[in-house]
Subunit: 272 residues, 2 copies
């Protein structure tokens, strides 16, 4: 497997991060997960825009231009012979001395890896979820709006889901409203409207979410667990795909089968 590491393509076994990298010691980093379709990075512009916004939010200078990043992603696709698959770009603030204060200037670390297609949301198969009880999403933090590497809450919620026999977990925010799933955004048809939790409720502004909101004129509106229990249908989206959400906490969503809004959204997911 070939990866791009700090500007150079190399074997994954050669790419090594130092023990003082703040990505490792403090979770001081960002990432993007990008689908590869027909040998090209999908929705690339939106991913690079979100990366740029996240880097600005936390004050990491991204040295490569968007053109250079796009070239590096293409190199990883090419080197690994990926036709359908996924890229993972990780950007950290790089090495630093002990403590929270970053070095000035920082020398960010950038890793890009790629894999041929794998299961997951890309499968399109019906999914079940629980509402996580082990943790909640922090809608008061800017991290809820950027794709930071601080994913341990999501890891714990996902672990709870698997231990309770579900595919994924929905995370509540501090107010008890639904924010999102562990690695996907939620959409639901509630009282006839297609809705998705708004960003201030703790929903990550997903790249695929934005496409579905725009194309299907979905409303960004607070979703309570009770709203979801009464939904006609629901589905989960992320950059890799879409799955109908057919049960939550063991109860069927709507009639427990993929619905018409899912069908329309799937066309959007496949479209770009």
């Amino acid at each position: 497997v070939k990866v791009h590491f700090n500007g150079r393509l190399m074997d994954a076994a050669e790419a090594r991060i130092g023990p003082t990298d703040r990505g490792l010691t403090l979770g001081d980093g960002l990432y993007e997960t990008i689908a590869v379709r027909a040998g090209r990075a999908a929705r690339l512009e939106a991913h690079l825009a979100r990366l740029r916004d996240g880097a600005a939010e936390i004050g990491i200078a991204v040295a490569p231009s968007e053109r250079e990043l796009a070239a590096a992603l293409a190199e990883v696709i090419e080197a690994n012979g990926i036709d359908e698959g996924v890229l993972r770009l990780t950007l950290t603030r790089g090495p630093g001395p002990r403590g929270l204060a970053p070095p000035v200037p920082a020398q960010p670390s950038l890793v890009i890896a790629g894999w041929a297609r794998e299961p997951g949301l890309g499968s399109g198969a019906p999914a079940t979820a629980i509402v996580a009880t082990v943790t909640r999403r922090n809608a008061h933090s800017p991290l809820a709006r950027i794709k930071s590497t601080n994913c341990l809450d999501n890891v714990l919620a996902h672990r709870e889901a698997r231990s309770r026999g579900a595919d994924d977990a929905l995370l509540l925010n501090g107010a008890g409203n639904i924010a999102e799933a562990t690695v996907a955004n939620l959409f639901a048809v509630i009282k006839g409207d297609l809705v998705t939790p708004p960003v201030p409720d703790g929903a990550l502004p997903g790249v695929m979410r934005a496409d579905v909101v725009r194309e299907l004129a979905a409303a960004e509106r607070t979703v309570t667990p009770r709203d979801l229990a009464g939904a006609a249908e629901a589905f989960l989206t992320n950059s890799l795909g879409i799955r109908p959400l057919v049960a939550v906490d063991g109860a069927a969503v709507g009639d427990g089968a993929p619905g018409p809004a899912f069908g329309k959204a799937r066309e959007i997911v496949r479209g770009a």
Copy 2:
């Protein structure tokens, strides 16, 4: 500089983490910061107990026994000739495939680094703080109770403090009560009682905090920003030391000078 990496002492330049390490990609890790005093790891038992509790909470198996961890810490102290200083132990879930689900079994990564004494809370010098506005602490998450590497909220709050000319930031929880500082616990004398925010309010159960609570019979009680504004005195503790907190958001705490409770707590900090 010598570090201990996965069971072996080596030059820091040799210790390298792979790009798929979940500590790097997902913040799936824990750490401990341990003071070195007179060539020995201070409050070692409490640190190892917290590491064990954190690992149990997130489901990481710690392969080395506490005896082996103690020996590794001692090796790092010895190899770097540290008399007074600090150790940093980082434990991650180790390498994994893409996605939130950990490999079974996981092969955790363990890095222990050490440095001779540095400034910080160890200095004992008066500190100023702001109440962070950029983010809040998530008291709904188990991460508030363990020392995870998901520190980006703290990095952002610390950055806000420095940009506003203060030494540190106090983090509120979702309810608007004070949880802690970015890398220290808060104590304050309020209406004659020495109090510290309780763990359910989002205070990390600090090793030094526990000693001060026990020795000075401090009350674990919710602290509002208004309570703190009316405090007779306040101070910050962490494993490396203690500092009087003499101003918050530009207003003096009490008479703006270290108080008698600080003096007593400093004896405890120096004692063990």
